[in-house]
Amino acid sequence: MISRLFSFHGGLKLDDHKDISAATPIRPAPLSKRLIVPLHQGGRQPARVIVSVGQQVAKGEIIAVADGLFSSAVHAPSSGSVSDIGPYPVAHPSGLSADCVVIETDGEERWIEHQPFDLEHASREQALAWLRDCGVVGLGGAAFPSHVKLGRGSGVDTLILNGAECEPWITCDDRLMRERAVDILSGARILAQLLGARELIVGIEDNKPEAIAAMRAAAAEIDAGLRVQPVPALYPMGGEKQLIRTLTGKEIPFGKIGFDFGVQCFNVGTAYAVHRAIRHGEPLLSRIVTLTGNVSNAGNWEALIGTPLDELLALAQPKVDTDRHLLGGPMMGFALPQLDVPLVKAGNCIIAASPRLLPAPPAELPCIRCTACASACPAELQPFELYWFSRARNFDKARDYQLFDCIECGCCAYVCPSHIPLVDYFRFAKSEIRARDQEQAAADQARDRFEFRNFRQEREKEEKAAKLAAKAAETRAKLAADNAAKPNETANETVADASPNAAPAASPGAPADDARQALIAAALERARQRQTSATASSPATAADEQPPAAS
């Protein structure tokens, strides 16, 4: 089937270096003695742990449940016992620690009871909940929970399966498509069904002819309604917006996603995980990892989530002059501060780098405003402007120039003749802006709460005053009634009883005034007594004082 392809702005033709790891079939990585499973696998919220230290877990048992809308479950990748729950270093550019569940494996690989999900007799919501509980997340790199991405189940016409794999060196999707094409397409059809999509396109870069052939063969076998479409090998073709534009001609504007335009994009690895979850009932416990770079035995391994990366990389036999390790590709990945960190669902590739193979970038020189970066930018931004603003910490301007449209693909830094690490500046500016936004939101919340507290205190004061006034009026009325009942002579005596040292008697004509004056005199007397002797107040006076003191 021939159909028109579109093109996106910029992009780069890169040496793909894919041959060295794409030649060998996927091999299973040996079971590690100790699996460290991070609770935060991507998305926005970490999962909530439900196991305790010492507990025996079976392979595939849920160890942490989805906590919040943008979260998905985490499972025990193998059977064994939970030996610790706590912070361990994780694969993150900061080298910081995050909460992990450590499982000492027993080597039995004892599965928890599981059966396929009955998709035909279940509602959409049940299917999405099943995917969430199977921990299915996007395996293209962002690890965004798939059940969230499947959305409402309407408004999407086109499902795009992303097999572009545009980053150099990485071949995990390539090998997966060559070897498990039927399963991938089965998962893709489930996704299309859940989305309600009528059209299914698989986009694969044309530097992977074997994968295209395998996918086409599988497509012919199971379904004619889908199209396997080779796309030009142009970095960053695998970017969601870039692939959507290439295949459908739809340009997704700032702040929108493909969903708003009837297109949704899933990675081929995610489709495979969906197939395993629905057709076999298996949660996402492992992924394909490319081990390549300065190694003598490059290739792809299927490794359990939580396997330490140093154990994993040892399988590829890194050479002695390896000095750095990159997680992800050379363009968008980051250098790992340490290698004894666990594999996460988003970890697609580890590259051993040496000064000869992937030299560290040369030192930064001044920007000469050549605009080569703007020509290369696939998001059609002006990276040199963004660079000036980020460098000068002029964050508002950087935001005005659509810094958040930047996909951090690294094309600008790659072409820069002054070797400016542009993406580093953009990442810095983005995280500063996000932190400021959060601080501002917290300050606004604090202001609201403070103002409400003041309002509440004011209201309480008024209510109390009203209550006291009502009480005083009641007492006054009672006294007035008493006075009215008795003759005028005895009224003075009553007042004198209430306060022995009371000030002069009131005029007999106005009993209500009398009573008030007497009350004031009594209060003054009490205050005087309290001042003169702190402890000498009689029990009766103390009881009188009780209501105001407690207020």
Partner: protein, 186 residues
């Protein structure tokens, strides 16, 4: 002569009516400058500036009764912003009002807490929950780190814990140029 007087009078009447209408209908409630100053202040409501909350301090600045360097939680950054807004010169943080500290949240040692509710009354943003003779605890996301609850505690069970850096709030650092490497370049 008469025409001139009539024209001028007429103009005065019309313009006066327009201005009078505008002053009634386009009246700005409150002082907009106070709002702008208040937006810059960090809203910790700690009272270190000598005013009972951020808004009273903003009002005092707007009236010219307070300096712009009395807010330790806002730090130098905040003083710079206030100086920009008000067209004043930057002045370093006033020492008598305190020093800039890293963001912290109050944490109650729940084993020691006797449930006296004094800290609950002191908290300006109602971030402490509890009841008389019941354990109290700080709702961490709401705590502004103002330290007002620390002093009233009779058993000294409240500590200010600096907010630790985690993978969630970690920020990319400003790219650093390595001068040694730059020098090595031809």
């Amino acid at each position: 002569m008469l025409t001139a007087i009539l024209v001028m009078t007429g103009l005065a009447v019309v313009l006066g009516a327009v201005l009078g209408y505008a002053s009634v209908h386009y009246r700005v409630e409150g002082d907009p400058l106070v709002e702008q100053i208040d937006a810059i202040l960090p809203q910790t409501q700690c009272g270190q500036c000598g005013f009972p909350g951020c808004r009273p301090y903003a009002e005092a600045i707007a009236r010219g009764e307070a300096e712009i360097n009395q807010c330790p939680p806002g730090g130098e950054d905040g003083i710079h912003k206030l100086a920009d807004l008000l067209g004043r010169d930057f002045v370093p943080l006033s020492e008598e009002h305190g020093e800039e500290k890293p963001t912290a949240v109050a944490v109650i040692d729940e084993q020691v807490c006797i449930g006296c509710t004094l800290c609950i009354q002191a908290c300006p943003v109602d971030a402490i929950v509890g009841a008389a003779k019941q354990m109290h605890t700080v709702v961490e996301p709401l705590c502004t780190g103002c330290e007002l609850c620390v002093a009233p505690c009779p058993v000294d069970c409240i500590a200010m814990v600096p907010v630790a850096e985690t993978v969630h709030n970690w920020k990319w650092k400003y790219p650093v140029v390595k001068l040694n490497e730059a020098r090595k370049e031809p």
